[in-house]
């Protein structure tokens, strides 16, 4: 068992997971945009750069599926196009309702937090009550990283263990570590504004939870982590803190 295997037990990917919604761009492109985007979102979609349009759309669709499922389970019959997803000035997505006078429903929708990620033909999104903490998802294609890049985002312990691995294992674990750090950085709403090197993980029991330390002398924060390999090609991570 390598250090990484031991630290991050990778789950087997299950399509049924209710933690997040995974959607392929191809599937979303079969659906008319005005069936799930509001008029304002269509105007935003028109402004997205061509290379990112399809994935942006898939991210919206995935997040809307999550929130509508939650609202329906609470007895609120809501259509996907009634919910609007916007990004705040740091890029963090949030929900609003397009047309509703139901103050209870408005408060409920505003009270959910979402995280979105897209990569090479897929999007994932997850939604959680913001009073429960922070949420971050990430999907990343398993890839070869430049040595300088790995050295820059891994802490010393991670890098020392990484260099002992076979090349293919290195690609997998570097992608896993990057994805875990990116999901965490989204959960704290900062993205790369916080340098990923300063994040370290330590394992707790039960399985699949770890505590992380942000910058050496800060307190460790407990987190729930789902991390799996999808189609042997992608790493998908979901972190709740």
């Amino acid at each position: 068992m390598s250090y990484f295997n031991d630290l991050f037990v990778l789950d087997t990917f299950t399509e049924q997971t209710k933690l997040f919604e995974l959607i392929s761009v191809d599937d979303v492109l079969k659906i008319p945009v005005d069936s799930f985007l509001s008029a304002y979102e269509i105007s935003l979609y028109d402004l997205v750069v061509a290379s990112k349009k399809d994935e942006w759309l898939a991210g919206r669709k995935a997040a809307k599926k999550c929130i509508v499922r939650i609202l329906n389970s609470h007895g609120h019959k809501t259509e996907q196009k009634d919910i609007e997803i916007r990004n705040d000035d740091k890029g963090v997505p949030f929900f609003t309702l397009t047309e509703s006078t139901d103050s209870l429903l408005i408060a409920m929708v505003n009270g959910y937090t979402s995280s979105i990620s897209h990569c090479e033909g897929f999007a994932v999104a997850s939604v959680m009550d913001s009073s429960e903490g922070g949420l971050g998802v990430d999907i990343e294609k398993i890839q070869k990283f430049k040595t300088g890049t790995v050295e820059a985002f891994m802490n010393k312990q991670e890098y020392d263990e990484y260099v002992k691995l076979e090349p293919l294992e290195q690609n997998k674990w570097a992608t896993v570590v990057w994805s875990l750090k990116e999901a965490y950085l989204k959960a704290i709403k900062q993205g790369l504004r916080v340098h990923p090197k300063g994040i370290s993980f330590s394992k707790n029991t039960p399985k699949n939870t770890f505590s992380h330390i942000v910058h050496d002398n800060q307190k460790a924060v407990p987190a729930s982590v789902y991390c799996s390999i999808y189609k042997e090609e992608f790493v998908i991570t979901c972190i709740k803190i």
Partner: protein, 84 residues
């Protein structure tokens, strides 16, 4: 001493190289995170600013910025003491 225009070209070239993006399509008003394919490319660009300009603070300062012009102004002022 570098001129402001030379620094603009330098920054654009660095971005084009790191993002594998056509140089002529990079404008001062271009949003850097929009030009990046993903966060790994963005991270590598931030590292290259640090290395190229030998400024340790470049990562944490540049990551807060949005456009090519913002970054150029920052480097011109903080590295070369040049204002536009």
């Amino acid at each position: 001493m570098k001129s402001y225009d030379e620094i603009v070209s330098e920054v654009k070239e660095l971005i084009a190289l790191k993002f594998n993006f056509p140089l002529e399509e990079i404008q001062p008003s271009s949003n850097i995170s929009t030009l990046a394919k993903d966060s790994i490319q963005l991270f590598e660009l931030l590292l290259s600013f640090e290395q190229y300009y030998q400024m340790e603070a470049a990562y944490e300062d540049v990551v807060q910025m949005h456009t090519v012009e913002d970054v150029t102004k920052y480097l011109a002022k903080n590295k070369y003491g040049v204002t536009q």
